[in-house]
Amino acid sequence: MAGTGYHCPRCGAELRGDPRKGGSRPGGTPGCPYEGLAYASLRAEHDAIYFGPWRRIDASPMEIRRGYHGIGRHLDAIARELAGHDLPGAARDLASAREAHEDADPRYDHPNALRLMDNALSYAHRAIDDLLHEKGLPPHRPMDFAEWYDVVEVPFRDEW
């Protein structure tokens, strides 16, 4: 439901969907859709960006800047997690994500800034999937959580 903003009570990620879709706990507290999942905070953070307003066709410059900085914080969080693992492939994905993110800096008005931001998020997704694979778990699928977000359209979705 558009405009019904609230935050995931577990991880603090901004969830815009109807809290009732995820069920509720005694006292009316909405349940966290990521609860019990490995790397729940990284997943929630990823999806909050993936379904964020910066990806709308009519995104404002402010929303794009917020999306850009959100990706930066997300990459920092992934880096902190990867620091405790010996996963060269994931580290390489993170490096590629940082490179794309740096090139997408909205201050420099890059003509492909949105595409580069999307690439950065895609590399970040792959790093999360590497972490999950090491635990023997299937990859993260943002669309499994789409009902929790105010999903209007997701550009470039076919390339994920």
Binding site: G89, R92, R126, H133, P138, P139
Partner: protein
């Protein structure tokens, strides 16, 4: 030397099915032979050897050398449902290039197993001082191409009418490369 202590590893697919990844051993001949006999004829046409013959699989088992060919099997219980191999050379100009091949049982396709096996090979490649991984795929094997590209492999070359199947028809060969982390500090 690749550390194989990570095996056996349990892998959960998107569907919730649980499989085990582990290296092939000499006791796997019949399991692997059964697996290859399940491969559809149209896929067998692309194999380099006639894997429907048990002696071919037996020869692989007899000459197992993980330093040259590391076959990782995906098992559902006692049944092989996936086979991914990392081929290396100890000497020569290709010693820093690992060649990867993946085969998935028909009823386990489109479940994410192929991607998981490519991810596993990528991890093994990163741990084995290789600079590049190379995959050769027939153009018609679109799902395999997608799985490799999803894991960061890029199309390096396409050879038109380059390889023939077992009926003699020609097919385009796509070569995909993945640059390992260690290739970043290469000196020339």
């Amino acid at each position: 030397m690749i550390d194989l202590n990570r095996y056996p590893r349990e892998i959960v697919l998107r569907s919730g099915e649980k499989l085990v990844f582990r290296p092939m051993t000499r006791d796997d001949v019949d399991r692997l032979w059964t697996f290859f006999r399940e491969v559809p004829p149209e896929d067998k046409m692309y194999f380099r050897q006639d894997v429907s013959r048990r002696e071919v699989v037996q020869r692989w088992a007899d000459t197992l050398d993980y330093g040259l060919v590391l076959p990782i099997l995906a098992l559902e219980g006692d049944r092989v449902v996936g086979d991914a191999t990392l081929h290396r050379q100890r000497t020569g100009w290709m010693q820093r290039v690992g060649v990867v091949r993946v085969q998935i049982a028909p009823d386990y396709r489109h479940k994410g197993l192929g991607t998981a096996m490519v991810r596993e090979l990528r991890h093994l490649g990163e741990k084995s001082a290789l600079r590049h991984l190379m995959a050769e795929v027939i153009q018609e094997q679109a799902a395999a191409v997608r799985a490799f590209e999803k894991m960061g492999f890029v199309r390096a070359a396409e050879y038109r009418d380059f390889v023939n199947d077992q009926k003699g028809r020609l097919h385009n060969l796509i070569v995909l490369l993945y640059r390992m982390s260690s290739s970043d500090d290469a000196e020339y």
